[in-house]
Symmetry: C2
Subunit: 236 residues, 2 copies
């Protein structure tokens, strides 16, 4: 199946209009024509099936089917220290494929990079939901300080911080704990330089569970995908 | 810790010489000097500690410590259908970080790409073992046909083929099966176009266990990393 994306603001009265990027892809690359069938999502859980009814001034589809898909039984948030742009792009793409529901990018004491590029990341995430046939677009935002991240963490039932020296493994978590439907999970992965000990202390005081992904040193973006893969084990 | 790489052919009589790429990195980027301490591996399980004793004609280190590290208790091979070069580079890097011991790249009926670039991939893997502080370089080779892959598979105790429609999940495998030390695991991940039904039949006849990574469509390279993450759960 091929799945396209229409902004929810551009869907009403049984019609959706597509932006220039998506229209170009549908008409030029995929060579769709007036009257052709098209499947699309709004990234808010809906699947639509419709017919192309206009090409100009914007590609327009009249839909005859609209289905609501349930989101996964628990939400997964990854909070990740800023790293190089290219590596952020990468974990946004792969992490979206793997079903991360929310990304926070944060700065901490050992942060060496900073880039605020939400619109670029959202474009990448949009491509990734189309690819993986998901109907929910993750939210992506930046948090300036580690302290703000800890404040946000109070909304989560299950909070983990990746620390190489921890003795808790994900296998322990999988064996011992069952996440309840509706409970939210937060994973915090540090920047390349890791966390300072005062930051770790703060996290522990805020009821984070330290967790190791093994004795080898993983790059930040690799740890993100490992966390997402682990959580998917619990979802399948 | 910083870890460097010396080709095992260039290590003898308590001395190692480094190639141009590695020397440049050690001397120019890391600004190491005569008399400095250096940690390195040969990618065959050894960790060395030594002192820089010459800069020309090649960077030379005399080592005073040589330790053998055991390889992981079971070996993981990923056989992956050819995909775009950039995406192969990517899963070689990340898969090496995650402890894949052997990569096979194979062609099957729906293969649209072919590239034979072993020396490039080995360079990427070399960087990745340094990054993740691993002492074993994965082997990387290409297999021309799916049939040849099935022949090679006879050497493995545990054989899995990723199929989206399968009902076996990795969670079932983790719960039910314990891999014995010394047993080898083979995961086969198809190319972008997936497998033909005759290929799936052949795999099943060859005792492959079909396994799903969930209901969402993962890109080939994402499935590779998911498989590696899952197996790491059993290793930690």
């Amino acid at each position: 199946m091929e799945l396209y994306f229409a902004d929810p603001d551009n869907i009403h009265d049984s019609h959706a209009t597509f932006d220039a990027f998506e229209s170009q892809h549908i008409l030029k690359t995929k060579r769709k024509k007036l009257g052709d069938l098209l499947n699309f999502t709004d990234g808010e859980g809906h699947f639509f099936e419709g017919i192309i009814v206009a090409l100009k001034p914007a590609l327009k589809v009249e839909y005859h089917l609209k289905e609501k898909n349930l989101s996964s039984d628990f939400k997964l948030t990854l909070a990740v220290g800023f790293i190089r742009q290219q590596r952020i792009d990468f974990f946004i793409e792969k992490g979206t494929e793997l079903g991360i529901d929310r990304f926070y990018l944060f700065a901490s004491n050992n942060t060496n990079y900073y880039t605020e590029n939400t619109s670029r990341w959202q474009k990448i995430a949009r491509q990734a939901i189309k690819q993986s046939l998901r109907y929910y677009l993750p939210s992506i935002s930046t948090i300036i300080s580690f302290k703000d991240l800890l404040e946000k963490s109070s909304a989560y039932n299950n909070k983990f911080i990746a620390l190489q020296n921890s003795t808790n493994t994900m296998m322990d978590i999988i064996r011992d704990q069952s996440f309840k439907s509706g409970e939210d999970i937060l994973f915090v992965i540090g920047p390349e330089g890791g966390f300072e000990s005062f930051e770790i202390d703060l996290a522990l005081k805020n009821n984070f569970i330290p967790i190791t992904f093994g004795k080898y040193r993983l790059r930040t973006e690799t740890a993100v995908l490992t966390a997402a893969s682990y959580i998917n084990l619990l979802r399948t």
